[in-house]
């Protein structure tokens, strides 16, 4: 299968009802063209796993605005009143997960672990319905792994075969999610020839990236 792909073709391969991991933190590090194309194609009933739903009109907020999302698994929705309204109206299911637990559940999914043991959430409503495990006299909450059908990854640089680097605080959930989805779609701010990114600098190896989204000329 060809590695590089037009954004329209890559998004066309996503089924309605798919689970999507989307990198980014308040929209910073969220791939803009993959989001816009998902809205344009009107994918339905998506399950979105991400840190947050940003703000209306920003990043994942665009998917929420377009009512394409059936469920979100996120650490907060406080910055997006549209998500909150849809939740109160019963239009969207919201699973709130402590941020550190969320990233560790994704990491567990991507690294083949059976879950993570953490004290975060112990004795709070986060514990409800979950198993606890005692290790050497300390009690931990068992948090289960998360995986997804598709990951939307936003890189600073990609090379032609899909090795990725990330920029500053736009890295956030991206490299961890690139391990945890069946199909990884990577969009990059710039694409450079192989060799420009040195092996030591590669943050996500190309072998994890199914499709690298081609840039489009911005004339017209």
């Amino acid at each position: 299968m060809k590695k590089t792909m037009k954004v329209s073709e890559a998004v066309a391969g996503i089924a309605d009802g798919a689970s999507l991991m989307i990198g980014g933190f308040m929209g910073v590090g969220t791939p803009p063209r993959l989001i816009d194309e998902t809205v344009r194609q009107g994918k339905r009933d998506l399950v979105v796993i991400a840190n947050d739903t940003a703000r209306p009109g920003v990043g994942i907020g665009k998917l929420i605005d377009a009512k394409l999302v059936r469920k979100v698994i996120v650490s907060h929705i406080g910055t997006n009143p549209v998500t909150q309204r849809q939740m109160l109206a019963g239009e969207i299911e919201v699973e709130l997960v402590p941020q550190g637990t969320l990233i560790e559940r994704i990491r567990a999914g991507g690294y083949g672990l059976g879950g993570v043991l953490t004290q975060t959430g112990l004795g709070t409503i986060v514990e409800e319905g979950k198993q606890t495990v005692d290790v050497d006299g300390r009690t931990f909450l068992l948090e289960k792994p998360l995986k997804a059908d598709v990951a939307f990854i936003y890189a600073k640089q990609a090379d032609h075969i899909g090795n990725l680097t990330y920029a500053l605080t736009a890295r956030n959930f991206n490299p961890v999610m690139a391990m945890a989805a069946t199909t990884v779609l990577a969009e990059a701010q710039s694409i450079v020839p192989v060799g420009v990114i040195s092996p030591d600098a590669v943050m996500t190896p190309a072998v994890l990236v199914r499709h690298l989204i081609l840039r489009e000329r911005s004339h017209g």
Binding site: F25, V28, T118, T124, T169
Partner: protein, 225 residues
Amino acid sequence: MDEKTLIARRVALELRAGTLVNLGIGLPTLVAAYVPKDMEIFFQSENGIVGMLTLPEEGLEAEDLTDAGGGPVGALPGAATFDSAMSFGLIRGGHLDLTILGGLQVDGAGRLANWMVPGRMVPGMGGAMDLVSGARRVVVAMTHTAKGIPKIVRNCTLPLTSVRPVSLIVTEMGVIEPTADGLVLRERAPGVTVEAIVAATDVDLIIPDQVPEIRLASDCGGETR
């Protein structure tokens, strides 16, 4: 001095040179303004940076360099960025020396509730549960009451953030330390009597023989009276 400034100036005295510190959103961010000029503090933002700095000037924003609220920030020489797994590894793994957080309620055992008001405000916990469960020291910076209704109470009526007690509570009325015996009143704000603090608190306080006036950081950092 308004009450938030007073709280920030007292909390600033909890900062120690060479430590890793995470400031929550809202009131806690004011604390950064009172770091002594010669004191090196590493501020973490949980979206993936150690060495965050206020942007020196408008117009110097980088779209990939932001704080946990998504707002643009700067960075100190020697700053480091990383992914969210490492960021929360720093918090949960015992590497974070201090977190300063806002609060909605604290109970008699020193347990904090600060992430939701059922039926009214369900923003989500973000990183708050990880911070309170994992940081070495947790300082709560909050107003003593919510429009006259005590926020320091026998039992929290709001969902807890963590069952782990916080280290210190700083309000505009005074400083309270949770201990194994209960909440101890350590300091009182200028012009505030012990009786007034007791009256504004909905759980018994342990009152030592001496409750000195609150200490404050000066505008340029360092202690003043």
